[in-house]
């Protein structure tokens, strides 16, 4: 019996030892005085070739200082980074795609770039901050501290095929009424007006946010971002919801609410639908399915009649965000590498190599990008900046449990715009009252700086 107990104890011993092992920190080997900056990036549709090229160039430039960049990419980079963040041994520079970044900021796990942004940008005497398009640094900014640097720009636009437009004699709408008329003419030509990624109702969120700005100006966006009581039930927001619902019910392609993003985008590039609302990644995402003679171009959300917003602004944000964790082994060198990565020197090459638009002002000579992205530059030309609504990344439960089902119900016509806005308002009020949710202070957009009436 004693032997049996011994065996049992031996079998159970690791059970009690292993759970304690997560306290043991892993320390990678260092080679002499060389500083190895580990950079982890999300390896998605853009690949990591360009990042590797920049990393190699930076390592060569700093070889005398003993600094070397060790860059790796993975489609599941976040899953690999997560346990390392927990045990305090993260890469020096990382991508947190899909991660609850506000939770990390609240837990003090990320470094601020604010100091570096005040220093001159690589190769210029201008402070790094001044190079960024207004609004691109706001995605994860709290209390004056900038926790994320965008290496690309994301903007929300309506896409179309100029070839199809020429054939039918259609033109780009300047107002929402013209947009409505255009959709009617498209339908009359036997084509579905608007394709929609209905399996992800959140694809309508940016269109809604843009409509809120067109109706109520940046003041309305500020109220949403600040989670002010009554922000969602104001007349401008209700009007935006009504316009969105009308577009969905009148102009969405049949069966759109059951289509994935790829299905609906395929409908668009195959000419089954004439328009689609999407981010700047559309061209890259559909490059293998787009016919060679397809002339993909975009236009900004049209002005709403009687609206208070500047119609030249566009809904967007900094994308391909990079972070430096507070537990990074070499935070200063890591931030310096970020400065080099997002610099005027490298932006044109980035655009040419992976087809993205830089968040830096004047960094994009049209020749550096495809004709599709040139239409984006054209759209951006008159806009003094971009705006976004921070709530989906800030209130993840609200996003999953309220926003997505409420948007789906609005788009299907199962709820009125008033009820939709009330639902959103109640959800935000519940989040505001929840002491467990950390709500960082909000720095409002200055309407005057964005060409709007204060």
């Amino acid at each position: 019996m004693q032997n049996a107990l011994k065996i049992l104890c031996a079998a159970l011993l690791p059970v009690y030892i292993l759970p304690g092992c997560d306290a043991v920190h892993y320390t990678p080997a260092r080679s002499g005085s060389e500083k190895i900056i580990e950079v982890a990036v999300f390896e998605g549709g853009y690949g990591i070739d360009w990042h590797q090229k920049i990393a190699a160039r930076y390592s060569d430039m700093h070889a005398a200082d003993g600094i070397r960049i060790n860059l790796w990419g993975d489609p599941r980079a976040v899953e690999k980074i997560k346990p390392r963040l927990l045990r305090g041994d993260p890469p020096d520079v990382l991508d947190l795609f899909g991660f609850p970044v506000w939770v990390l900021i609240g837990a003090g796990k990320l470094s601020s770039f604010t100091g570096a942004l005040e220093r001159p940008a690589y190769g210029t005497n201008v402070p790094w901050r001044d190079l960024f398009i207004k609004g691109t640094l706001d995605t994860f900014t709290s209390d004056g501290q900038v926790y994320a640097i965008p290496s690309a720009l994301s903007a929300w636009a309506c896409w179309y095929d100029t070839r199809m437009f020429r054939k039918h004699g259609w033109s780009v709408p300047k107002t929402w009424s013209e947009f409505d008329d255009l959709c009617k003419r498209i339908r009359a030509a036997g084509i579905a007006p608007v394709a929609f990624q209905g399996k992800y109702p959140s694809y309508a969120w940016n269109t809604f946010v843009a409509l809120v700005q067109r109706c109520g100006g940046l003041a309305a966006i500020n109220r949403l971002n600040a989670m002010e009581p009554g922000a969602f039930t104001g007349p401008d927001v209700v009007r935006a919801a009504r316009l969105l619902q009308e577009m969905a019910l009148k102009h969405f392609q049949k069966g759109a609410m059951a289509m994935t993003h790829t299905e609906s985008q395929l409908q668009f590039v195959n000419g089954q639908a004439a328009l689609i609302w999407c981010g700047l990644w559309l061209e890259n995402e559909m490059k293998n399915s787009t016919p060679p003679d397809f002339e993909m171009r975009c236009f900004n959300l049209p002005a709403v009649e009687g609206g208070k917003g500047n119609p030249d602004l566009f809904c967007g944000e900094g994308a391909e965000l990079i972070f430096v964790p507070s537990d990074a082994r070499h935070p200063e060198e890591a931030i310096d590498f970020c400065r080099y990565l997002v610099s005027l020197e490298n932006a044109p090459d980035m655009a040419k190599s992976i087809g993205v638009i830089s968040p830096l002002k004047g960094a994009m000579p049209p020749a550096a990008v495809s004709p599709t992205l040139q239409s984006v530059l054209e759209m951006m030309k008159d806009g003094p900046g971009i705006f976004t609504c921070r709530l989906p990344t800030l209130l993840m439960e609200w996003n999953n449990q309220i926003l997505n089902p409420a948007l789906a119900a609005l788009l299907r016509g199962e709820t009125t715009p008033d009820v939709f806005c009330r639902r959103m308002e109640d959800g935000v009020a519940a989040a505001r009252a929840n002491p467990d949710i950390v709500i960082p202070p909000y720095v409002p957009y200055d309407p005057a700086a964005f060409g709007e009436e204060p």
Binding site: N3, A4, I7, A11, L86, V103, L104, S202, M257, R412
Partner: protein
């Protein structure tokens, strides 16, 4: 002749590896999940003890848990009953030695060798509202043929969005039945093939119909296996996850959530580990009691032959 002590050592030696793995991968995580359910934790900061708050929130702050549980019950009763009825029906037919029985057996069992994710993707394509969607295409053709015949019923706006969040929970039933029927059919058929043929010969001499033979001979003699099948279905329906997750593109809403998707979303996308663990604990309790009740209700003295 081994002593009693030596026998125990022998038994424990063989049990130890399984016990070790079970403890590491099942027992310890389960106990830790119970601990997490009593804490508030985002997976990053220090967990904070909150007692039963997560469980209270489950029922008080939103109806998500109850809605998800209703969806599980819907899958259990509708999907489960259809699966059992069809698998019993097919097993009984194949048991009566129809022509090509072995081919049918393989065909019905085939979905079980495909991964559940692949099956869900296959049905997403079948249900698609684009030109790939076989089901919508068939419905469209049927509607056109009926219209040519002057029949305008049923008035369905096609293509029908089967995988829209609102309808996913219903659209999953045919997929669930198609996938599971083969497995239960093989289970029941194996039990039926152990029944001595003489019982049926005697029944035939007494003039019993095929249905009477099934009711009075076949079903009572496979009842124990049938109970096992019911338990499998109850557990499977309560733990249902992958098809919803795939059909909803990892973003289920309250229209389509089941308990396991709520659990996953709370822990891995909202990083609310405490709340997700509370769902896991309740899911465990529900599976445990549902299995217990099923076994109790079907408890009857086993018939022997």
């Amino acid at each position: 002749m081994k002593t009693r002590g030596e026998q125990r050592v022998f038994i424990f030696t063989f049990l130890a590896p399984a016990l070790f793995l079970f403890t590491i991968f099942v027992a310890v995580p389960s106990v830790r999940a119970l601990g997490y359910s009593l804490r508030q934790w985002d997976g990053l900061s220090t967990p904070k003890w909150v007692g039963l708050k997560n469980f209270i929130t489950l029922f008080k702050d939103s109806d998500l848990f109850l809605v998800a549980f209703q969806h599980n019950l819907f899958l259990m009763f509708v999907g489960g009953l259809l699966t059992l009825a069809l698998s019993l029906f097919f097993a009984a037919i194949l048991h009566r030695r129809v022509r090509g029985a072995s081919l049918f057996r393989v065909a019905f069992f085939f979905p079980n060798v495909i991964s559940s994710v692949a099956i869900a993707l296959l049905w997403v394509l079948l249900y698609s509202t684009t030109s790939f969607g076989v089901i919508n295409s068939l419905l469209l053709h049927a509607q056109q043929i009926l219209a040519q015949m002057g029949v305008t019923w049923p008035r369905i706006d096609l293509p029908f969005p089967f995988v829209d969040s609102k309808y996913v929970i219903y659209s999953i039933i045919p997929m669930m039945v198609w996938t599971a029927t083969g497995f239960y059919m093989v289970l029941f058929l194996a039990a039926m093939e152990n029944i001595p043929e003489t019982f049926y010969e005697a029944a035939k001499l007494d003039g019993a119909s095929e249905f009477a033979q099934f009711r009075h001979i076949t079903f009572p003699l496979i009842r124990e296996v049938f109970t096992v099948g019911v338990v499998f279905l109850v557990i499977g329906s309560l733990k249902f996850f992958d098809a919803i997750w795939v059909m909803e593109n990892q973003q289920p809403t309250s229209d389509s959530h089941v308990l396991a998707t709520v659990l996953y979303q709370k822990v891995f996308t909202e990083y609310n580990v405490g709340y997700g663990s509370a769902v896991a604990v309740l899911l465990f309790i529900l599976v445990f009691f549902a299995t217990l009740v099923t076994l109790r209700l079907s408890r009857k003295e086993a018939l022997e032959y």
